[in-house]
Structure formats: structure tokens, C-alpha cells
């Protein structure tokens, strides 16, 4: 970052440039993830997806985006116009802002604030407001249901997310995501999922608890982004399209974009906290600032693939089962983990 700053002396231009980098990354990444999802989903179901647009359908996501761009923008007559228009953008802002604190590499992080992990959870709740607004302003009872269920789900799954982050913070001692990643530098044995760079005895005792915490964080993150099996808000067969029903064209594209960007975000968060972020699993082979970006994106992409895999394996959870899982399974186990990790770290 400082390197680019010395290149162009103007502070404003530098900050604009650095803040649009994640936007370009999101756009490219969403196209790749869209293509991956449709192909992986198709092959899991023993069929092939698009084969005609481009070789084996590689141009299909671009065709999808072009189609959404040129659609008519329909606003229902009795809809609350201001809220209806604002909702997709608020949802996207909530997703985009989190990219400011993701450590893509040792030299690039949008904003190296000391409260990175806390900021993640806080700014991630912006999306809840966006979805509630969309559900309410659509003047459609099914959208309202979708919006309310989504708000309930996202709020109740933020607690396991925050508690899991607390466990990582206890081990590393810092909320700054760049410091957490540096703490795990030095090879696969130093990753927090295997206990972190601590002496042998502590590591062995910590390992089951960090494994459980990792699993719980992963499950809670899937619920945060409304992916199957937790996709009741957009339950395609029950609520028409949930809070998305009345949206068309570019506004729908915003929701769509923010869903896929969110997919990558939560994978990236899980990877930075537990799996070593941009550090290479081999000690210094293939490590360095540019290799950092490669490792980060590869690891996050693996978790995106796992989420796609889960989507096509599991049926949807009912709303009361959803609440049961969050409040009565994830949260108590996390309390036990916090207690255990605290004791182990003290001894």
C-alpha cells in the first residue's frame, strides 16, 4: 500500500484506487463463482449445465449479467418507493464494506484497523436491514414473511459467529485480522484449527475445541448468508422468491451479487481466522506477498466449493429447527468451548 502511495503522490487518488480494487475483485469473482456453482450443481445432479454459450458455457454468467442489466425496472404501485429503491443498495453496502478488513495478503489490506473482527460482525448486520426493507417495502405478504424470517435467522446466527471469533481472539490476543494471520504464519502446524503456534501440550488439549469452534463458525456463516440448508428466506418453492419477489433487473442483480459476494466473504473470514489466511501451508516454500493472494483466494474458494456441495446435499431446515440449532446447539457448545479454551490458555 505504501508502495503505491509513493508512486502517485496524491492521497485521494490512492484511496479511490485501493477502494475500487475489491469491487473489481468481487465482480470477477462472482462470475467465476456463478459458473462454478452452475457446473458443480449440474454434475452433482448427473446432468450438464449450459454448453452453448461459449465453450461449455463459460460465457453464460456474462450473458446472465447482461440480461439482468437490460431488464425493465418494475416498482409495484403501492410499494414504499424510497425503501424499495434503497434496499438492494444497503444490502450490497453491508456486503462490500466487509472487504475492507479482509487480509488478502501481507501487503494489502483495505484498512488495517485494530478492531477488524468486531467490524466484520457489526457491518455484516447491515444486510439484515437491507433485507427487512426489501421485504416490507414490496407490499407483498410473502416478501414480508421472507424478510422477517431472514432477519430472525441472521440475528440469531450472529451470536455463534461472534462467540467463535471471541475464541480465536482469546488464542491470538488481537482483533486485528492481519495480526491473526501473521500469528498463524509458518506452515500448516501453526494454523489455529490445529491449535495455533503454542507448546505441544497446550496444542493437543486445544485441538478438539478449536475443531469444534471451526465447524460451528462454518455452519453459522452458512446461515448468515442464507444458503441452503438455511435458505428459508428465499425458499424457492415456498415463498415464491421470498424478499426478492418484486425485484427485477438491476435491483435484483444487486441482491444476487451481494449473495455471491457474501459467500466468498464468509469463506474468507473462516479461512483468515482458522486456516491461516494468506500464509502458505508449507513453511516458506511458495510464500511471499504475491503468493499470499494466491493462497488466500484458493483457500476461500475451497470453502465456497464446500458450501455449494452442501447446498445440493441437504434439504432445507424448517424455521423452528433453524432457531433450535442456533440457540440450543451452537451457542451452548460455544460456551463450553470458551470455558475450555480459557482454562487451557491460563494453565
Amino acid at each position: 500500500m505504501e508502495f503505491i502511495q509513493t508512486l502517485l503522490a496524491n492521497q485521494l487518488i490512492v484511496s479511490i484506487l485501493l477502494s475500487t480494487l475489491p469491487l473489481i475483485f468481487i465482480n470477477v469473482m462472482v462470475l467465476v463463482v456463478l459458473y462454478t456453482e452452475m457446473k458443480v450443481a449440474a454434475h452433482i445432479q448427473d446432468r450438464v449445465a449450459y454448453m452453448r454459450t461459449g465453450w461449455h458455457g463459460v460465457l453464460q454468467p456474462i450473458a446472465d449479467m447482461l440480461k439482468l442489466l437490460q431488464k425493465e425496472d418494475i416498482i409495484p404501485t403501492k410499494a414504499d418507493k424510497l425503501l424499495f429503491r434503497m434496499a438492494p443498495f444497503i444490502a450490497f453496502i453491508g456486503t462490500y464494506v466487509v472487504y475492507a478488513v479482509l487480509p488478502f495478503s501481507s501487503i494489502y489490506i483495505g484498512s488495517n484497523i485494530n478492531l477488524g473482527a468486531f467490524f466484520l460482525v457489526a457491518a455484516g448486520s447491515f444486510v439484515v436491514i437491507g433485507i427487512l426493507m426489501a421485504g416490507w417495502a414490496s407490499n407483498n405478504k410473502w416478501s414480508l414473511f421472507g424478510g422477517i424470517r431472514s432477519a430472525a435467522q441472521m440475528i440469531s446466527y450472529e451470536i455463534p459467529t461472534a462467540l467463535a471469533i471471541v475464541i480465536v481472539v482469546m488464542i491470538t490476543g488481537s482483533l486485528n485480522l492481519q495480526d491473526v494471520t501473521k500469528f498463524q504464519d509458518g506452515g500448516i502446524g501453526n494454523w489455529i484449527i490445529f491449535g495455533g503456534p503454542l507448546p505441544w501440550a497446550q496444542k493437543l488439549m486445544l485441538m478438539p475445541f478449536t475443531l469444534i469452534t471451526f465447524l460451528i463458525l462454518f455452519v453459522a456463516s452458512i446461515a448468515e448468508v442464507n444458503r441452503t440448508p438455511f435458505d428459508l428466506p428465499e425458499a424457492e418453492s415456498e415463498l415464491v422468491q421470498g424478499y426478492n419477489t418484486e425485484y427485477s433487473g438491476m435491483r435484483f442483480a444487486m441482491f444476487y451479487l451481494s449473495e455471491y459476494a457474501n459467500l466468498f466473504t464468509v469463506s474468507a473470514v473462516v479461512v483468515s481466522l482458522f486456516l491461516g489466511g494468506w500464509s502458505s501451508p508449507f513453511n516458506s516454500f511458495m510464500s511471499g506477498p504475491l503468493w499470499g493472494i494466491f493462497w488466500f483466494v484458493t483457500k476461500a474458494y475451497t470453502f465456497v466449493l464446500i458450501q455449494i456441495w452442501l447446498r445440493w446435499t441437504l434439504p432445507r431446515l424448517r424455521v423452528d429447527q433453524l432457531m433450535f440449532v442456533s440457540w440450543k446447539v451452537l451457542t451452548p457448545w460455544l460456551f463450553v468451548c470458551i470455558l475450555a479454551v480459557g482454562l487451557i490458555l491460563v494453565i
Binding site: I44, R47, V48, M51, W309
Partner: protein
């Protein structure tokens, strides 16, 4: 089992079944897909499949049995009796043909592909082929005319029949 036992059992059982499900889907990820890329590759259809009808008009004796059997009335047959001096030829089953077929229209859009017209035919001249790609833009093009008589031949046959009938009635009226 106590309720706390049920609680723990549920958690581990659900995790275990999720893993089993994921094993199955990942196995399917690497199996060959069942899709057939249709216009470039066409799958072979069974030998006795019932698709578009065809009529071998040289064998048709104009008995109207197929038209009567059709449940949706899509076959229209109009015949002209031939006079004893004309020779229409033999069918493949070695019977004499006695009727000119002036009109044999099948409205293939109405046809329900039941195959009921195939069985009554004495000469097996109407049968179902394996052609299934005959979509078209124009409704009129779905009326298939199998008759090969031109308008002049039809008027000539009708005139001949009229002349013969007149001669027969004239003969009857003679004392």
C-alpha cells in the same frame, strides 16, 4: 433414553448423516452425466415406436376402416367407384383394387398416435414410422394429403362413373 441423551444423539446423528449425504453427492460429481446433446446426437428410438403416420397409397383399397377406427377423426377418405372396364391394378396382397382414392387426408396435428388405424387395414398400407421431428410454423401444412390423383384425373373418373351409371339406368328402363 433421557432427553439430554436424545439431544446428544440428535447432534451426532445429524452430523453423521450429513457426512453420508456429502459422500453420495461427491460420488455423483464424478459420474458421467446422463444428458444427450440433442441436435448433434440423437438417441435411437425403439423399433415399434409410434410416431408419424405413413400411407402407401398404391396399396390402399379405400375400405375406410382406418378412418372409422380413428378416435379423433383425423383421417378423411373420399373414393370414386371405378367402372368395370378400367384396371386399377393389384395390391400387395394380390387383391383387385376397385376404388379410386380421390382424397386421403390425415390431419397429423389431430392425430393422437394411438395406432388404432394400423390394425384394421387389410393390406397393411397405413403404418407408423419413427419420424418425430416434423414441427412446422404453419397450421395448414399439418394436413398431409396422400392421394396422388390430379384434379383432371378426378374429374375424368367422375365423368366416367356418371356415364356408366347413366348407361346402366338407361338399360334398365328399356323394355
Amino acid at each position: 433414553m433421557s432427553s439430554i441423551g436424545i439431544y446428544f444423539y440428535n447432534i451426532f446423528h445429524s452430523l453423521y448423516t450429513v457426512v453420508i449425504g456429502m459422500k453420495i453427492t461427491i460420488r455423483h460429481l464424478f459420474t458421467r452425466s446422463a444428458t444427450v446433446q440433442y441436435p448433434t446426437i440423437k438417441k435411437k428410438i425403439p423399433e415399434r415406436a409410434r410416431n408419424r403416420l405413413f400411407v402407401n397409397i398404391d396399396d390402399c383399397i379405400g375400405c375406410n376402416l382406418c378412418s372409422i377406427a380413428c378416435p379423433v377423426d383425423c383421417i378423411l377418405i373420399k373414393t370414386i367407384k371405378s367402372t368395370p372396364d378400367m384396371d386399377l391394378g393389384m395390391t400387395s396382397k394380390n387383391t383387385r383394387k376397385r376404388l379410386y382414392i380421390s382424397c386421403f387426408d390425415i390431419d397429423i396435428a389431430k392425430c393422437c398416435y394411438c395406432g388404432l388405424c394400423v390394425w384394421p387395414c387389410p393390406t397393411e398400407c397405413i403404418f407408423m414410422t419413427d419420424v418425430y421431428e416434423f414441427a412446422d410454423f404453419n397450421r395448414q401444412s399439418f394436413i398431409y394429403s396422400f392421394s396422388i390423383m390430379t384434379a383432371e384425373e378426378i374429374t375424368a373418373a367422375q365423368r366416367r362413373l356418371k356415364k356408366y351409371n347413366d348407361e346402366q339406368t338407361a338399360k334398365k328402363l328399356l323394355p
